[in-house]
Amino acid sequence: MYRYDEFDHKLVADRVNQFRGQVERRVSGALSEDQFKPLRLMNGVYLQLHAYMLRVAIPYGTLRSEQMRMLAHIARKYDRGYGHFTTRQNIQYNWPALDEIPDLLDELACVEMHAIQTSGNCIRNVTSDQYAGAIEGEAEDPRIVSEIIRQWSTFHPEFTYLPRKFKIAVTAHKNDRAAIKLHDIGIVVKQNDAGEIGYEVHVGGGQGRTPFVAKKMTDFVPKAKLLAYLEAVMRVYNMLGRRDNSYKARIKILVHETGEEEMRRMVEEEFAKIDASEMLTVPQEEIDRISAYFAPPAFETLPADSQAFSQAQADDADFARFVRANVVAHKQDGYAIVNISLKPIGGVPGDATDAQMDVIADLAERFSHDEVRVTHEQNLVLPHVKLDDVKTVYDALAAHELATANLGLISDQIACPGLDYCNLANARSIPLAQEISERFSDLDRQYDIGELKIKISGCINACGHHHVGHIGILGVDKKGTEFYQISLGGAADENAAIGQITGRAFTEEDIVDAIETVITTYTDLRADGERFIDTYNRVGMAPFKERLYD
């Protein structure tokens, strides 16, 4: 994992000191809330329905155990004993007191963490594949380029007041777990025929009220040229992105209104100008320095199979279920990737208590080469666990309600904070996620339904990714009553697609039954081995519509 040098440390410390002064001026009344707003937004502090909310950056979703322990400590000391992991691999605290936030940030800085790039119209915290460095088949660890992008984009003087926020995601695998085609810029790390590493760049994806799948701008940018290419995209956007209407200000609208071809031409032209100076060509020594931090941990040479692991599954049906749903093959023989679901039946998606975070930190330290990952689907991962240790890890997780065996299943939902916390929401999301989770709590039924991604947003801003849920649910407000609209066929992976709305919305009383109808329609129609999304793509909307509205 990347470690700060003196420069990184000083920059974060300077920022905390700067913000401390700003908070003091706000608390004393020298700054009005209006004047304070842009300053707090530069530091991850939002004003929510009930209180200030702080969003802490977890660059590309990677944490060391001491960092996870600090997140637990902060939940305990400054919040109400829990934190909320978000769809952008960050963590949010819902109840910090404003005057304590500078101290909180000081504590975070001790473990090389901060709240920079988590709000405001800047380049936001870069996200990546939670299986980076652990899964077979990556062109290169995507965190190397993610870290380079993190540094380049931090306090970028030209791109701090963009038309709108700007999100970059990176994957290095054919199976996209980072939803890169739904980002302002999505990057695929790949190898060309000559064996060189470079980047495929997608531009203009996004959700919100006007969802778009990103367009491929270029097939291959050589490694050394990536920042020049990104700066070209950013400059075109900063100069031509609309600022007259915030709903039309994202780069997806520029790409859509300009057209893919013209956008590509402008980016290429800008790229040629920027690249001519070679100013943004990162020196090889620096690439090497950063790469070294992401070298594989010291894996032991082990057999591919573990007798203890197989025996434990044979002896314990619950453990076998956990393995089936939550454990993924590792690239290194004798190791596994262990997913920790933050979606217990009836729980709040993405929430973890301080005690749970401490347990996970300890497990990471003892069994996972000190690493934890956060996923954009609001779960956690222990990326490097020996097969021999998986049962021990499972038992510890189970003792803290962290062993729900539902990864990728119907109860593993994404939900935004919704009307319970958010001042933009039209409807509640969390209670609905909880109801669906209760309705389908039977694990055997969940396995029978198979891979299914339900995503719930409490308003059109789509923080709960409803557009790209296999089943998406959008909360809408009609004359003061909460209604829920269903969409089908969305996907956030390498086959990214925007879901289609089924028809009129359902009331709070009817929505869970409607979901059940969608599910039974699928199970009635599915061919052997078909997942929900496969059946939907084969049969289309009509049969679902018929059953929902007959």
């Binding site: 842009p38 003087p157 400059r235 900063n238 007259d244 100008k273 020196p283």
Partner: protein, 172 residues
């Protein structure tokens, strides 16, 4: 008298320029004119020996309000001693790109000035993009300005200033 005070290269300075409306007569005083006038009267302006400046406007130009295109200044760069970039609201950061294009692509060496809604927290960023003159609200003093520039000690990335950025400077 101006309703702002001026900082050039980190020191307070007397204003020696005047902003001219499009219909105001040209004088021998150093004058800042609009881009429209610069383009319309290019030949007449070439006859004039007094220093010439232009203001690049960022709003009030129609529905989608993209502001004036900095690259339209290309043919005139050698004749300009000052370019003022207008920031209509602190949130509108279009001018940061304009500044870098002027400094890095056009190698503009004259005075590059920020005017409009130019706040404390933007000075350092603007400075890094090549802006060396600031029209500050009358109640801001030089010490406050200097403090703002110094609050962040380093930079990760190169821009239009001397700072190479940590990604490039490490190990050098």
């Amino acid at each position: 008298m101006t309703d702002y005070h001026l900082v050039i290269d980190g020191a307070t300075a007397e204003e020696s320029w005047i902003y001219l409306d499009d219909d105001a007569a040209l004088s021998d005083a150093p004058s800042i004119i609009s881009l429209t006038r610069l383009k319309d009267q290019a030949y007449a302006l070439a006859e004039r020996s007094a220093p010439l400046g232009v203001i690049l406007r960022a709003d009030g130009l129609g529905k989608t309000d993209l502001g004036e295109d900095v690259r339209e200044l290309a043919p005139f760069i050698d004749r300009l001693a000052l370019i003022a970039i207008h920031f209509p609201a602190y949130r509108n950061g279009r001018g940061y790109s304009a500044a870098r294009v002027l400094r890095e692509e056009f190698n503009f060496t004259g005075q590059l000035r920020a005017t409009g809604d130019v706040l404390y927290d933007q000075w350092a960023m603007m400075n890094r993009c090549g802006i060396n003159a600031f029209e500050l609200a009358a109640d801001i003093d030089l010490a406050t300005f200097q403090t703002a520039l110094g609050e962040l000690s380093g930079a990760y990335q190169p821009a239009a200033d001397q700072n190479r950025g940590a990604l490039w400077a490490r190990g050098k």
